[in-house]
Amino acid sequence: MPYGYNGKILKVDLTNRSWEVEHLPESFYRTYLGGSGIGLYYILKGMSAGADPLGPENVLTFAVSVVTGAPFSGQARVAANGKSPLTGAIGDSQAGGFFPAALKAAGYDAIVINGQASTPVYLLVNDGDVSIHDATYLWGRATGETEDRLRSDLGIKDVHIAEIGPAGENLVRLAAIMNMANRAHGRTGLGAVMGAKKLKAIAVHGSRQPQIADARSLQELARWGATHISSNPAMSDLQINGTAGGLSYQQMSGGLPTRNWQSGVFEQFEHISGDALTSTILRKRDTCYACATRCKRVVEVTEGNYPVNRRYGGPEYETIAAFGSYCGVDDLSAIARANQLCNAYGLDTIGTGATIAWAIDCFEHGLITLDDTGGRELHFGDPDVIIELIEQIAHRQGFGVLLAEGSARAACKIGRGSEQLVVAVKNAELPAHMPEVKRSLALIYAVNPFGADHQSSEHDPSYTEGATLLEKRRLELLGLQDPQDPRVLNEEKVRYAWITQKMYSIADTLCLCQFDWGPSWQLYGPEHFVAMVKAVTGWNVTLDELLLAAERRINMMRVFNAREGFTRRDDTLPAKISRPKTGGPSDGLAVAPEEVERAKDIYYRLVGWDLSTGNPTPQKLRELGLDWLVDSVSS
């Protein structure tokens, strides 16, 4: 019996309602580790290029890693992968909660879902036993209702459930996969893939985690983490105020996207800050399996126009920005209500908020009219607009039919210059971190295989003269000893982006929470990755070995995209980023397209990708032991 993992992958065919178990050797796990590493392996082997993301040929994977379920903070994550109906590129999204550890305890390291059921079903994995059941009676229900009903019907204590809501069923391209009805695989629209497969839910239950190789060392590492949260101000603030604690910082540095990225400052930011949330609507601090950080929020509003139920958790920073500053809304209750609706219907809060902000911007510029909206005026600062449009998007009603496609596709249909107001890369809307003030994000947003992502590299403030001692020491371990201005994108900054991108990719391959695990500011640093993997698996790994696995994951994603016809020209930022912002510390700031093109040249050379196509070269794939993918990029 291996340490840390099961050695078993569950492969389900929904078309035939059948399944098989694949047993894999240690060498497979040591090469791909878990998460999207394992997901991409099955997707690249099992899906042909050009597959319809909403057809039976799309392969949807849920994978944990060789360390998931072990007792330490930050291991409770699961990766979902498939072809994205939003981007047409690889889809990738991680979620936390208790589902990941339960999947591991149920006896599998990943579930690979092929085919398409003819009628709604749910999948049950109970201590190794697999069954597929009718879910017609759950179809149309919100996520919380689905969880409650299914849990009650199954009668299994400690069962954990991943599910879609009406948005996924209605094939909304912004649809999320939820678990606990408040943890989201939000990005890249994988909820619609599950909806297309007519897979309403996956319920997992297990009674036994795999053994740990060196339980004593792991326990020491876990204790070290738990006792050091309070001495790290960023972790301490994360525990007290949640991710929303960062909102004031973004505002003060001019990096809070406001009114569809017209500005980097929101005048009413104090109404929606982490401090405001903590002192008004916060009811409880929640956590994921075995995590001492407790960054999750539970909020409640019982009075006023926007009631909010604790069942659906509370808004993260990204959600507050997307429905708040993006839309010019300063009503925290309305934002929390928007968060509840998105979690209940299964919608990505970033993509949905950004799409609504784009629609408002278009309306205020006369590019979208009352004829398009069904007579509804759209204005920044109107909380009712976001609530009404979420309903319409989730149910594909009225104006929501158009917005359910995401802002980029909607702009293509509308035309009239509305494309110029879209803020997306590869059709995926930008998260709430501005490359204008954190310039390395301009590069990472452009080249990231699944669209603009803020969780794929370290941000610039960690690599400045003003960074903290902890950040400086940890980055030095990675050979980064030349801090830069946060607003430059030079060769050193590209090197920083690539090295930290690999570190974040280790986290995503090992399914680690990036708030606990990362290159610089987080609780655990680079050296802890090695100690932790050694303790759980017994493997004598090095950081270089883990970095290689991380690089493998990124290259596999780029190979997937190359097969789908993506090239260098798709690694492009939206026009809005090159237009000067107005007001505050970022007044007049913009990122010139030439600046990004120069950085891409440096980056492609550094990572070993073809300069003209931006795709991995055969030589690079061989270096990574991915010889089996060479034909994919050669043809």
């Binding site: 001495s231 101000p233 960023a234 972790m235 960074a467 903290t468 001692l469 902890l470 950040e471």
Partner: protein
């Protein structure tokens, strides 16, 4: 002289218990600097990331005038952890 202070995020725990409100008044020596005000409040030096006077970013050695509003922000990331 009297100034006004606003502590953000985790730094709010250093607000003097006798002083209420998000923005509170504080009596500081004439010509006190931002850094000296932080010290007077007991803010750990390495926990302060950004400082502002009347909404403008400032250096920690900036001298204050009567009625100024000083804001202290913790890092959104990073710390002083020894390892």
């Amino acid at each position: 002289m009297d100034i006004k202070v606003r502590l953000h995020g985790v730094l709010q725990h250093y607000r003097p218990k006798t002083l209420g409100g998000e923005v509170f008044a504080l009596d500081v020596p004439e010509h006190a600097t931002v850094e000296e005000v932080g010290r007077q409040l007991g803010l750990p030096e390495t926990w302060v990331c950004l400082t502002f006077v009347n909404g403008e970013a400032c250096r920690k050695n900036q001298q204050l005038r009567t009625g100024d509003l000083v804001a202290f922000l913790p890092p959104a990331r990073g710390g002083t952890l020894e390892f």
